[in-house]
């Protein structure tokens, strides 16, 4: 069960981020974008505004998961090629077009690591890492906690890591995470809470 404290901490952070972030867009903007998508469905040349709008963030998303500029470029090309090929099947469901692109990108990254059998890269900024430490650990020797946290992250299954990565390392609002993963916002919150609980247990066990 959620404790009230946990909810308020998480929600407070979320609210703060929502205010400072530009990652969610209004219904009107989504509707306008849907018209651009419909145009691209008629003629692939009209895909250009969508490509120009999202290239940077999709490239960055892939780069954070591969850690290699050339591989990121190759996968990113593949993502947009797939997007333009499959744009005809896209249906507007009240979520931003970017959520669909992120899903395609996520699949392509996963495919790349399946094929190469390399360990998937997880990019962490020190300050976001500290946020996660705040969330799951009590007071104590920071370095020990840090090492324990890294150990716990190594034990997460891929779907759990995706959630932690988006929520903490990329500081995405729950709403956006829910849109990318095709789940409800409350489900995203519950899942995140459960993963944090799991990490606490792993860290406790390892300490």
């Amino acid at each position: 069960m959620f404790s009230n404290l946990q909810i308020s901490r998480t929600l407070a952070k979320n609210t703060a981020r929502m205010q400072s972030s530009n990652k969610t867009i209004s219904q009107e903007a989504m509707q306008a974008e849907w018209l651009e998508v419909q145009a691209a469905q008629q003629n692939p040349a009209y895909f250009r505004p969508l490509y120009d709008r999202y290239f940077n963030q999709i490239f960055r998303f892939i780069f954070k998961r591969t850690g290699d500029e050339n591989i990121a470029n190759d996968i990113c090309s593949q993502v947009f090629l797939k997007a333009i090929q499959k744009i005809g099947t896209y249906e507007y469901k009240g979520v931003p077009f970017s959520a669909w692109l992120y899903r395609v990108a996520s699949n392509e990254v996963a495919q790349y690591f399946r094929n190469t059998q390399k360990n998937r890269v997880v990019t962490v900024e020190e300050h976001t890492f500290s946020d996660l430490i705040d969330e799951v650990s009590e007071e104590g020797d920071f370095e020990k906690i840090r090492q324990s946290m890294l150990g716990a992250l190594q034990q997460l299954k891929e779907s759990d890591m995706v959630m932690i990565e988006m929520r903490f390392f990329e500081e995405r609002p729950f709403k956006e995470i829910a849109q990318i993963l095709s789940i409800t916002e409350s489900n995203a919150k519950v899942k995140t809470y459960r993963i944090l609980e799991k990490m606490k247990k792993i860290m406790k066990k390892n300490s």
């Binding site: 940077n56 960055r60 190759d74």
Partner: protein
Amino acid sequence: MKKDLYNIKINPPQLSKEEIAKYQDFDALLAKFKETPLPKEVKSERKPRVIWLRYVATAAAVFLLAAMVNGLLQREKGMDEKQFFANQPFINPPLNDLKPTFVSGKINANEGGIYENNNGSKLIIPAAAFRNPDGKLVEGDVDIKYREMHDYVDFFLSGIPMTYDSAGVKYVLESAGMVEIYAEQNGQQLKMDPGKEIKVELISYINMPRLNMSPKYNIYKLSASSRNWEYQNVDNIQIIDELDNEGFENEELRNLRTNYQTYLSKTSILEVNEIAVLEATIEIPTKPVRPVRANKDHFSFDLDISDNASPVVKNLGEKYQNIIWHISPNSPEINTNAFKLEWESMDLKPIDNGPDFELTLINGDRKEYILVTPALSGNEFSKAMSLYDTSMEIYRNKLKDRELTLEKNRNSIIEKYYSLKEASKKEFVRTIENWRIKNQNDPSLNQIVRKKIINRFVANEFGIWNCDRPIHPDDLEIEGNFELDKNAEVTDEIAYLVNKNRNTIVRIYAKDGAKINFDQKSDNLMWMVTKDNQIAIFRQEEFKKINQKKGGNHTFRLKVEPDALKSEEDVRKVLQFKEM
């Protein structure tokens, strides 16, 4: 020490907007799109392009040459099995018209309920368990969509992969049954409310050696995102008719079974008795009697209540001044002229806890018995009703307390006897296991029997849930080549290999040199699907003829069955499915 799953990079250098922008080229993308309209073709060409771009970027000619050589080698070698299946749909039904069908039933979302399948399998669904795609709690009727898959024919037709990848090691799944569950409302697919669980009781069958009393299976959920099965829990299996005659031919075992059965039935009798004693010892509160309003249409009369009347009657007389008495509808018939007579004495006593009293009119040796009911009118009736309402409230509370006490004590009795039965079962199973070890050379013990079971588990999400256990592929691994008679052509290059004894099915990328694992002692079957929706098959008797050791090579000549596949029955017939 566990192997790291991720390459975690802390504070790595980030790319600037300008650095990323240099890769941005929509015209090149559009040109590429026009060249390669089909996604599959694009996918297969991706790898050489990764290499090409990387090496152009570094402008190292020597590496470019190496890449070209590498590319040529790749093409020469072709795709491996992993790459092949990575490019296939994850769930890939080979005969689209013959996929195992869903059945459906309605459940009220507010109340929850039990969905029961024709074969007795059950889904126990809690109240308020569904949310619509917007996250809103769903109310009203919901359609539960449900299908079960039990054997290699079901698994084949469903196209659901039955292998499990654990840290790069491929296992085969030996299944004890699989279900797929969804819910819909007005054609819209629903999600489960986080934290809610559906209890599943899946009736199925497993193949197992005789006298194996405790088969061990797990619960896995299929994840389309990771293209793998994800472990959830241990499968709680109950074998139905575990004590039937099969396997208990030996006298020593029969005696053990008799003792065990006797203990179980004695324990059950003790349990029933103890619950009966409990119910008898917790006092049942007396239900208050509802006052009767005087009715002028009923025959009624007055009675003088004497000092030596029973306490209940006296109490009634003291409380109410104007009681009149009706003849109860339950009374034996009496001539109303009797009330015109003067009787020497009378006796009035209450009957049980009902509204009626027994009135005895006495005159010498003559006695008349009738049942009468006290009736009130006006304020006295209102006063009696008010008292009645208060007494009923007290009565209901006492009844509730009794039920709670009863339930608590009853549960502890049930738990006590359940523990005793479980301990006894554990001991019985242990003894049988020891007997099996002692008699392991007895060939009858290796005989595979098919047992009906109930798999019990909880599902916290919709999707595909499998009761199974990962096992290593069969020991004998050879390289296979494939030939189809009648110049038949296949829809894709997938061969299906079944070990009937273990209820396993493996998909193989059927190119020359493919690795084929099988157990020559088992009942094996391999087939492919032709473009004409026929099955080309390599049967058990052919497997027996393979004379190869590990690492050997064999050409599998698959014979095309002429029968057209129009129904699941046709498939079962061609694939020689029979219940063991």
